[in-house]
């Protein structure tokens, strides 16, 4: 496998040369003409119930042509159900799904210009790799020679040359994943739906495949909607992320905004680690708001734009919490917030180290610091330290 990863870089470079890919030929059953500013895919208040259970609860979302969009959420939050409605395997109870301005909510799956890569790949076990990839092309009535060309092109795209004759159960997990991808891409769909495309791969392969997927999407200029429960994966690949919880779409944002400006306490906790201090907002002065917290005294945060009502949480990512032996001067680095405590736990992770600092109030603050030098100068468990952070690095979230 190491070999595979090593060669992936130059291979991709080479494959990247014929970057000219013609517009969709096959999946043009719905001719799509986009007005400027019109999203390729518009999901309008779509809802789906199973019995009394709301699997998807009035989700609205626009996806632009050429976007790499990720639907992120914990297992069981309705991501697959939403994706299956886009593919046509489930019919929405309410709402509309517009593709290029046309409502496709009731168009049968085999008549939609979208393709899906299934979570379990769903490769046809009785067909060879070649016939799996050619399946959708044959159904589209493509000429035999064109099918041959397209299959060869797809095999090269996912680097499976020489495996044409194999059956799916003669392939490794990574190879099966590529066949599934090639099969879904072969028809050049308007939108490619990917349901947890990397979940079955091991970590190393997953990382290299993430890069390849991004590269592919960029080159083909196709719209990808990928479902994942892995926030790192979503952040790495997607240009925008929609976070789902219990059937609702809670926030749609770029990876950076999602991390740095999560819309709710739940999202802040779901996307990465975070320190939270509950408290009551007090007076604002000079663009800074004082929040009196139970566990960390008064914290100063940059005044949020929207008005606050009632109790709030002050949230701060661990890598924004710095440690030092002495308190830094206030005017230096805007270090308005200083918390004294004792280090209780040190987790060395190679590139960085995470410290747990127990405050005198009993609460714990996490701090992650990059190990920028080889010399061990880290703090030790039991040491007294000051954990400090600026008011700009704090978020104020409703509780």
């Amino acid at each position: 496998m190491a070999e595979e990863i090593q060669k992936s870089e130059p291979e991709l470079e080479r494959a990247a040369e014929p970057a000219k890919i013609e517009p969709p030929v096959v999946a043009a059953s719905l001719p799509i003409k986009l007005e400027p500013d019109m999203p390729l895919l518009r999901i309008e208040a779509v809802a789906k119930k199973f019995g009394n259970f709301r699997a998807v609860d009035h989700v609205s979302l626009d996806v632009r042509a050429g976007e790499f969009f990720a639907l992120l959420g914990p297992s069981g939050c309705g991501k697959t159900t939403l994706l299956r409605m886009l593919a046509g395997f489930e019919t929405p109870d309410e709402g509309r799904i517009l593709l290029g301005g046309k409502d496709i909510a009731h168009v049968l799956p085999h008549e939609r210009p979208v393709n899906m890569m299934f979570q379990n790949y769903a490769l046809f076990p009785h067909l060879s790799v070649r016939d799996n990839i050619a399946f959708g092309l044959k159904r589209a009535g493509m000429a035999r020679v064109d099918i041959e060309t397209r299959v060869a092109e797809m095999m090269a795209l996912v680097r499976l040359e020489g495996m044409e004759k194999r059956k799916p159960d003669q392939l490794s997990g990574g190879q099966r994943q590529r066949v599934a991808l090639a099969r879904a891409l072969a028809r050049r769909p308007q939108v490619l739906l990917l349901d947890e495309p990397l979940a079955a791969l091991d970590k190393k392969l997953r990382e290299s495949t993430q890069r390849e997927l991004m590269e592919l999407q960029r080159r083909l200029g196709m719209t990808f909607i990928v479902v994942t429960h892995d926030q790192e994966e979503a952040m790495t690949m997607a240009s925008r992320i929609g976070v789902m919880d219990a059937g609702r779409l809670d926030q749609v944002a770029t990876p950076r905004d999602l991390y740095e400006a999560p819309a709710s306490r739940w999202i802040a906790e779901f996307v990465g680690d975070i320190n939270l201090f509950e408290g009551q907002p007090g007076a604002a002065e000079g663009g800074r708001l004082a929040v009196s917290t139970r566990d960390a005294g008064t914290l100063y945060v940059t005044e949020p734009r929207k008005a606050l009502k009632g109790a709030v949480s002050v949230a701060i990512r661990p890598e924004k919490v710095k440690l030092s032996r002495r308190a830094p001067a206030v005017d230096e680095a805007n270090a308005f917030n200083r918390l004294e405590g004792t280090i209780t736990d040190v987790s060395y992770l190679g590139g960085q180290t995470t410290y747990k600092v127990k405050l005198d109030s009993g609460a714990t603050v996490s701090s992650t610091m990059a190990n920028t030098t080889r010399i061990v100068d880290a703090y030790l468990a039991g040491q007294r330290v000051v954990a400090w952070f600026t008011s700009d690095d704090c978020l104020v979230l409703d509780q």
Binding site: F89, L108, P109, H110, M116, H126, F135, K167, D169
Partner: protein
């Protein structure tokens, strides 16, 4: 004694048990039948010669061996009666298997698509006829098919026919009987393969532009072929040798090989010819089995 030996014994027995079974209950009886097939009929007890006399020593046995001949097999090839019987048996089995497949596949398909909790019920309904004796069920069909039986009554009431039809002692009656009796053997293996098929494969087919009909022919049918093969064999082989159903329901003008065998054995008391008929029948039946085995083997290798 080491623990290993204690455990090794039952394991070894389990490994040879099937072969032991084959030898005791198949090869040895087959040897007897083959020997009788090579003998000549005689008015004696048992009704054939030679009879091995193991007490007579080596010479007696050699003498007996020299009397064995292939005359009975030559007779089978030279007399139309036997060839026609074999042909009829194969035709009846082939036609019946085809009808069974045509009826059984949709039923099995429907069962596999039922909601999960109804599937055991459907399975019970398929198996339930086995709880009544086979002979009683065939006699019930005689009752249904006779001149003033249920079938004619219904047809007349529905004005589909103007006068009662003759069913009994026709090939139609025989096919009805065979298809009715063997249907479960066709449905069960088909249902087993169809029920374990991954439905996401059909979704993938639809996603790739296959209409439900195309998905059925391109995905469902190829993936159910092992079930089709098993069901067809389970029906075809016993139907070739079927005796009771043609005897009770079909006319007497054409005989299946089972009936011919019966005739030779019980009416003509010609054990050697009857045995030869049985040996040839066995060879005819083993051929498709071997073919099926080969195909399965190739399928496994292709994996």
């Amino acid at each position: 004694m080491s623990a290993r030996r204690i455990f090794a014994r039952p394991a070894r027995f389990a490994a040879i048990a099937p072969y032991l079974w084959m030898v005791l209950f198949f090869l040895v009886p087959f040897g007897f039948v083959l020997k009788i097939a090579l003998s000549q009929t005689a008015i004696a007890q048992p009704p054939y010669v030679p009879v091995f006399d193991f007490m007579g020593g080596r010479e007696a046995i050699t003498a007996a061996l020299e009397q064995l001949s292939f005359d009975n097999f030559k007779l089978l090839v030279s007399d139309d009666l036997y060839i026609l019987s074999y042909l009829r048996s194969l035709t009846v089995a082939l036609v019946s298997t085809a009808i069974l497949l045509l009826i059984g596949y949709p039923i099995a398909y429907g069962m596999a698509r039922l909601p999960q909790r109804w599937q055991p019920v459907a399975m019970m309904l398929v198996i339930v006829p086995f709880w009544t004796s086979f002979l009683i069920r065939i006699y019930a069909w005689i009752n249904i098919l006779q001149h003033d039986g249920l079938l004619n009554t219904v047809l007349l009431k529905l004005h589909l026919v103007s006068a009662p039809l003759v069913w009994l002692s026709t090939d139609s009656a025989m096919y009805i009987g065979i298809v009715y009796s063997y249907l479960p053997f066709m449905i069960l293996p088909l249902y087993a393969t169809l029920a374990k098929m991954d439905v996401s494969l059909l979704e993938a087919a639809a996603d790739l532009g296959a209409s439900p009909r195309q998905a059925f022919w391109q995905v469902t049918v190829p993936l159910s072929l092992p079930g089709v093969g098993a069901g067809a064999l389970l029906c075809f082989i016993p139907i070739v040798g079927e005796f009771v159903i043609p005897d009770l329901l079909a006319g007497s003008d054409a005989m299946m090989i089972g009936q011919t065998l019966w005739l030779e054995f019980f009416t003509n008391k010609d054990w050697p010819v009857a045995s030869a008929v049985a040996v040839v029948l066995l060879v005819l039946l083993v051929a498709p089995l071997l073919l099926y085995e080969r195909l399965q083997h190739r399928q496994l290798e292709a994996r």
